[in-house]
């Protein structure tokens, strides 16, 4: 998200504008008014007496509201503006509204014309990323004092309705208010914009469903206050940590997304602006990260993904029975199946993460009912591992898209085409088996075994899973280990050759527990070594690799979420000092982003940059980065559930001072955790 953009949002409805509050036509940048994965306004431009305005200030005090302080004309020294225009924008009730206030500071009466230009390209959010021509028909009409912007393609029909609360001149390209103001008086008017996903019988498609009704500002406000109240309270001497924690809770609240299927149980959406919807991987990872703080997200995510579980083979969607989805969209390309997004299953890790999350959720919540309820889906997921994911029949989880045209080449979290490479830069052939997938599979089997024994009452199945896990660990430590480098290969290629790049993925292996004890030290040393550790965290790819690029999406940038799992992994293997070091640097980086960690930032050496360098098109907020701060806090405090007890085993670096986390929810009710910074001992 650009530096000078102001976003507000509620679920998958959001507005992104510049600091003046305006939206300029920009086919490739995600500015405008969006709902249901569609851009309902691509032009939204305010002028006063024909003149554009300038922002004195713009801010977003709550995630659903933004305010802009504007004056006409360009700022010139000593020329005082005689007019102030305030623009307050609030999202809610299926659209947004703007309250415009004009104040005349002059000592004489002034005639004003306030005009808003409006236009809509009705682009699918996916099209904005990819650019493709539109085939439908545009119309713009004025009816009963409402400006209707309209797009139709066959029976697919979308409308933006723009209305006002007082007399205005409305034409096909916007509307204008004309009025006269006496000295030192003000005028106020309200403009409403509503997105209509026109259904088969007129009206909004969504209104025929028993979905959650759109919420107004008061509800949103109250809801946010309650959300913050329910979460554990953090007290700390270290301000950056406090700030990051509070920011994360607010962002997580903002990113909650009410799905059509379970409107009352929101799941975490992935990130603004690209990923405001259902994304399996991000929803699960962030639920996992947030478990000790807001456990309800995990239950909602598991239920939703279970109901959408793959049930057949569909090459277009990379769907297979038992598979958990990657992405679900509602835009035009999804409607016409030009893209496999309704839903898309092209991920090899989502199914494994589903099992891991189910177990972790039970360990915190004690909610065996959900484990029982989702037994069929969990079993189907386990079956998928052996029946569909093991493409080479050798016991590993592999991936290769069934959809050569639109499918993702890499179906692990590092999705970009160049993410998986050899040290010399070559890209491996397909299928591919990345190392962390094997770690997740190992972990998923062990965790499922625990659930089988405890809840499903199937000891034989549990034994079988444990045996498979043990075999997998053995095999993995043989096939993936690169002796001369002292680390695990990033992946195996289609010929079972090692893809030998040094990457952050080895950190996830620690988290999964698939790393042999004797090799853990070497892995930890690599993670904190100069090739991977930038000083602001662990890079996705070592800076010695041919494809290393400090501003490469998955080939050199630092991902806070990745780092949080690495911190957790380091602690799992007892590397407390290393865990503390990585966590500290990520929190330090957060300071430069006002406590809000972006999706990714540059992998430049810390010695070279005073600040972490932002990655240009990173989503912010991004839910896994939001969750990263929570998971790091959990890892630093060493919070682990053991049966009905919450164990606290802190490894807090000295500079963090005292940390108290009060009211941690779980099967034990609420518990507090106290810790004091001290030199961590491994």
């Amino acid at each position: 998200m650009g530096k000078h953009l102001v976003p507000i949002l509620d679920g998958n409805t959001f507005v992104v504008s510049d600091r003046r509050g305006d939206v300029e036509p920009a086919p490739r940048t995600p500015t405008g008014f969006f709902s249901f994965d569609t851009r309902f306004l691509s032009v939204w431009r305010l002028s006063l007496n024909g003149e554009r305005l300038n922002a004195l200030a713009a801010d977003s005090p709550e995630y659903f509201e933004a305010r802009f302080f504007l004056v006409p004309g360009a700022p010139t020294h000593y020329v005082d503006a005689k007019t102030t225009l305030m623009r307050k924008r609030t999202i809610g009730q299926g659209g947004f509204h703007e309250v415009l206030t004009v104040i005349n500071h002059d000592d004489r009466p002034v005639d004003y014309q306030v005009r808003l230009d409006a236009g809509a390209d009705f682009r699918d959010l996916v099209e904005i990323k990819d650019r493709s021509p539109k085939v439908g028909t545009y119309r713009s009409v004025v009816r009963d004092g409402t400006l209707i912007l309209d797009y139709q393609r066959d029976r697919y029909h979308r409308q933006a309705l723009i209305s006002v609360d007082r007399p205005a001149q409305i034409d096909e390209r916007g509307l204008a208010f004309s009025f006269r103001l006496a000295p030192n008086t003000r005028w106020t008017g309200t403009v409403r914009v509503r997105a209509v996903v026109v259904g088969a019988r007129g009206g909004d498609l969504r209104e025929t469903l028993e979905a959650r009704r759109p919420r107004d500002k008061q509800t949103l406000k109250q809801d946010l206050a309650e959300w913050l109240d329910r979460a554990p309270e953090l007290r700390s001497d270290w301000r950056p940590l406090l700030r990051m924690y509070r920011r994360s809770l607010i962002d997580l609240a903002a990113l909650r997304y009410s799905t059509l299927a379970f409107p009352d149980h929101p799941i975490p959406a992935a990130g603004l602006p690209w990923f405001m919807g259902i994304f399996g991987r991000e929803a699960m990872l962030s639920s996992l990260q947030a478990l000790p703080f807001v456990p309800e997200l995990a239950a909602a995510t598991l239920r939703l993904l279970a109901i959408n579980q793959g049930s057949r083979v569909d090459d277009f969607r990379d769907e297979e029975p038992g598979k958990i989805l990657l992405e679900f969209r509602y835009g035009e390309t999804a409607a016409f199946e030009e893209r496999p997004n309704s839903p898309y299953f092209g991920a090899a890790d989502s199914t494994l993460l589903f099992l891991i999350l189910l177990d972790e959720y039970e360990r915190w919540s004690g909610d065996v009912d959900l484990v029982r309820e989702l037994e069929p889906e969990a079993r189907a997921a386990i079956t998928w591992m052996s029946d569909y994911a093991d493409l080479m029949g050798d016991g590993y989880v592999w991936y290769q898209s069934r959809n050569p045209r639109h499918g993702l080449p890499n179906q692990c979290w590092k999705t970009s085409p160049d993410a998986i490479s050899y040290r010399d830069g070559r890209l491996p052939g397909l299928p591919r088996a990345t190392c962390e997938l094997q770690g997740y599979a190992y972990d998923a089997k062990l965790r499922s075994a625990r659930l089988a024994r405890l809840v499903w009452n199937d000891a034989a199945f549990a034994d079988r899973l444990e045996r498979e896990a043990a075999e997998l660990k053995d095999r993995f430590n043989r096939d993936f280990w690169i002796e001369e480098g002292g680390y695990y290969a990033l992946a195996l290629d289609g010929d079972h050759g090692k893809v030998d790049a040094l990457s952050s993925n080895i950190g996830h292996l620690l988290w999964s527990g698939i790393v042999e004890e004797s090799r853990a030290r070497a892995v930890a040393d690599h993670l904190l070594g100069p090739q991977l550790f930038s000083g602001w965290g662990v890079r996705t790819l070592s800076d010695r690799e041919r494809r290393y690029n400090p501003v490469g999406y998955h080939v050199g940038t630092v991902w806070p979420s990745d780092n949080a799992f690495i911190v957790w992994g380091l602690r799992r293997y007892g590397f407390n000092r290393e865990a503390a070091r990585v966590a500290t640097t990520i929190v330090e980086a957060a300071q430069y982003f006002d406590g809000r960690l972006p999706e990714a930032f540059g992998g430049y050496d810390r010695a070279q940059t005073k600040y972490p360098v932002p990655y240009p098109t990173a989503c912010t907020p991004h839910v896994c980065s939001t969750g990263a701060s929570l998971l790091m806090l959990r890892a630093l405090l060493g919070l682990e559930p053991y049966n009905d007890v919450l164990v606290v085993d802190p490894a807090v670096p000295v500079e963090m001072g005292r940390i108290e986390l009060v009211g941690i929810p779980g099967r034990w009710g609420r518990r507090d955790a106290f810790a004091r910074g001290r030199e961590p001992v491994d």
């Binding site: 004195l56 801010d59 302080f69 004056v71 020294h77 005082d80 000592d107 690029n549 940059t609």
Partner: protein
């Protein structure tokens, strides 16, 4: 230094660069971007391209006030498309302007690139930019000489040149430098580019060469100096993060704004503000020195010396100069050189002279430096003499002003110097001459303080007695002539015939600071200052809501000036209004938080309830010296620091939410002492709404 709009500034004294967040300069006649020195723009175009493509900024490191670093990538940021090349553009101003370009090739294959810097200069005078009127009378020239690009401007014997050179092989032509480079895979390329700004004097040498002692400072030296500067200031430990941040920010900005005049190399006084006012201003320098005296006393001594050295000696209508008068502004640009503008120096200020006297006394009270008081006795007497010999234009014992330079002298010679800042409550503008209330306060204070110096240092008790008698008479007269009966406040000013500018303004706060207010009337003044018409919730407005000319974003008719508020807080404390003083201080520190600790010159007078955050005034200078000094004076005021005969008294009146404060190693005649305080004053956070008033 970078602000919200992506403007990046680095500076060293009055040499500075203002660019966009890519490091590029594309100046238009009215936008103050470019490389500036001696009030002249030496680069108005400085654009980096790679293969003809502009770059995009990923981030900007503001390393120090004199250096910065840009992280750039070519082309527009597009989703999932990683840049294969990135650029680190490092820039510093240490004597001259230098840039180091590092181009990194992240690709697995070698690349061939054409890296180009476009360079151009319009040699505009800062004043021409400010007035948006560049009308050059001289001739431009440009040539390539020994691989250097030399751009010049000549008007008679006035000559300014910009010379661009580089360490790497390049094609140098008029208009720019082009590097054709081959960078192997995963490798990088580096070049240094130097830009020299020359004020060409007789014989082709730079004018400054003969004057500057020791030549330009090196980068390391500047770094060291900055560290020493910060170390030698008192250290602050406090629970209020905004205050802590603002204090630190102020120290660094103050270091950046230090300005060594050509006449006194190696000594520093505060320049007024970036970008318009990187030069010496009498009023700004004195106010800033007063604010910072407990923290960095050396600025005061230099300010006093340089202002004394440049004191007016004769009558010169063009410069509004009189004997004994302290200057307003000193410039070096083309308009000053050709006397298109009267700024070399210009004397059109009514208050710098009494403020000079006030600073001298305050400085002695802190430093015990009687030697300087001796040294400046003649100038101080001349200043006092100026007040009744030249400034009493109406012959009634007040300080008046009326410009003699009708073409481009200043209409208003008080701190609120915009054309419409003085008015009656119905909006009419008064005639001339004009006498503003706060000037009378300053004069009163100057006389009282000078009496102390006369008795203590100059050994002239008769003079002291006379000054005290005059001061007492002035106070009595003032309380009679300026008091607005029905409003119960002091008029902003008066006409020669006694008519009052009956608007309610922040100026009454300065009267408390000066001590000219009758004790019986002080409570009413305090009430006005924190009442709904003047107090916005963030601070005291320059003009009260309800006045005809009130405009929340009017430069001097409704905005809030942090510096103004710091003196108001000081004044409130002087008269014992501890709660009101704490309230003003508290609001200002709250506001500072929204500006990352750097208070701007002014911000909007909107109600705090309406805006929830302070709205910055459109083109306010930032950093600006007396805004930079504001947190320091507020700190002094909250801690109640006052020197008493060789001792430092600490009498805190701290808002509750400031928590604990320790200010350690406060320098002065006592050596170094510490001050401790705990927030005990409950500040009324409830803010008023003036919605009904408008």
């Amino acid at each position: 230094m970078s602000d919200e709009l992506g403007v990046v500034k680095i500076l060293d004294g009055n040499t500075f660069v203002v660019s966009d967040d890519r490091g590029d300069v594309e100046a238009t006649p009215s936008s103050p971007t470019g490389l500036f020195a001696l009030d002249t723009r030496f680069l108005s175009r400085w654009v980096l391209t790679i293969d003809g493509q502009r770059l995009n900024s990923l981030s900007v490191d503001d390393l120090n006030y004199f250096e910065t670093r840009f992280f750039l990538v070519p082309g527009e940021a597009a989703y999932y498309v990683d840049a294969k090349v990135s650029v680190i553009r490092e820039r510093s101003i240490v004597g001259s302007f230098a840039e180091t370009l590092t181009v990194l090739n992240h690709a697995e294959v070698p690349v061939d690139l054409e890296i180009r810097i476009e360079a151009g200069s319009d040699f505009a005078d800062l004043f021409e930019i400010k007035d948006e009127a560049i009308d050059k009378k001289g001739d431009y020239y440009a040539e390539v000489q020994d691989g250097h690009l030399r751009m010049g401007y000549q008007r008679g014997t006035f000559r300014r040149e910009t010379v661009v050179s580089t360490t790497e092989p390049a094609t140098v032509e008029v208009g720019g430098l082009t590097f054709t480079v081959h960078i192997p895979a995963n490798d990088k390329w580096t070049a240094e580019i130097h830009v020299k700004s020359l004020a060409v004097g007789p014989g082709g040498r730079d004018l400054r060469m003969g004057l500057r002692a020791g030549g330009a400072r090196g980068r390391d030296q500047m770094q060291r100096e900055l560290e020493e500067w910060i170390e030698s200031a008192p250290s602050l430990n406090c629970e209020s993060e905004p205050l802590q941040t603002a204090y630190r920010r102020s120290l660094v900005d103050l270091a950046a704004l230090r300005y060594s005049p050509i006449a006194l190399p190696g000594q520093y006084l505060p320049a007024a503000g970036l970008p318009w006012f990187m030069t010496m201003f009498g009023r700004d320098s004195v106010f800033t020195s007063l604010q910072t005296l407990p923290f960095v006393p050396s600025l005061s001594a230099t300010t006093l010396r340089i202002l004394a050295a440049l004191q007016g000696t004769r009558i010169d209508d063009f410069r509004d100069e009189d004997p004994g008068r302290i200057l307003h502004e000193f410039r070096y640009g083309e308009t000053a050189a050709f006397e298109d503008q009267p700024h070399s120096p210009y004397f059109g200020t009514v208050d710098a002279t009494p403020l000079f006297v006030i600073l001298l006394d305050e400085y002695e009270r802190w430093s015990g430096d009687t030697a300087l008081v001796h040294e400046l006795e003649k100038e101080t007497r001349a200043a006092l003499n100026w007040m009744y010999e030249y400034a009493d234009l109406a012959g009634n014992g007040y300080l008046w002003y009326e410009r003699r330079n009708l073409k481009n002298g200043l209409e208003n010679q008080c701190w609120k110097d915009s054309w419409d800042s003085l008015s009656y409550s119905d909006g009419r503008l008064p005639g001339y001459p004009r006498a503003t209330c706060e000037s009378q306060g300053y004069m009163y204070d100057a006389k009282v303080r000078a009496a102390r110096l006369a008795r203590l240092v100059w050994n002239d008790p008769a003079f002291a007695d006379r000054l005290e008698a005059e001061a007492a008479a002035l106070k009595e007269r003032f309380n009679r002539d300026f008091w607005v009966e029905e409003g119960e406040y002091y008029a902003l000013g008066i006409d020669p015939d006694g008519g009052q500018y009956d608007v309610l303004t922040s100026n009454i706060g300065h009267l408390l600071w000066s001590g000219i207010v009758d004790a019986a009337r002080a409570p009413k003044i305090a009430e006005h200052l924190v009442g709904p018409r003047l107090y916005s919730g963030w601070g005291v407005r320059t003009m009260a809501v309800g006045e005809a000319r009130y405009n929340p974003i009017g430069y001097h008719v409704g905005t809030i000036w942090p510096f103004d508020n710091s003196f108001i807080a000081w004044g409130l404390r002087r008269y014992g209004f501890v709660e009101e003083s704490a309230m003003v201080a508290d609001g200002m520190i709250d506001a500072a938080e929204f500006f990352q600790g750097r208070l701007p010159e002014a911000f909007g007078g909107y109600d705090r309830e309406l805006t929830k955050y302070p709205v910055q005034y459109p083109t306010a200078c930032s950093p600006q010296a007396w805004s930079t000094g504001t947190p320091m004076l507020l700190l002094r005021t909250m801690l109640g620091l006052e020197p008493h005969e060789g001792h430092l008294a600490v009498e805190p009146a701290l808002p509750e939410d400031m928590g604990r404060i320790e200010l350690l190693d406060i320098p002065g005649r006592w050596g170094r002492v510490d001050a401790f305080a705990r927030g005990r004053i409950e500040v009324r956070k409830k803010v008023f709404s003036t919605a009904e008033l408008t």
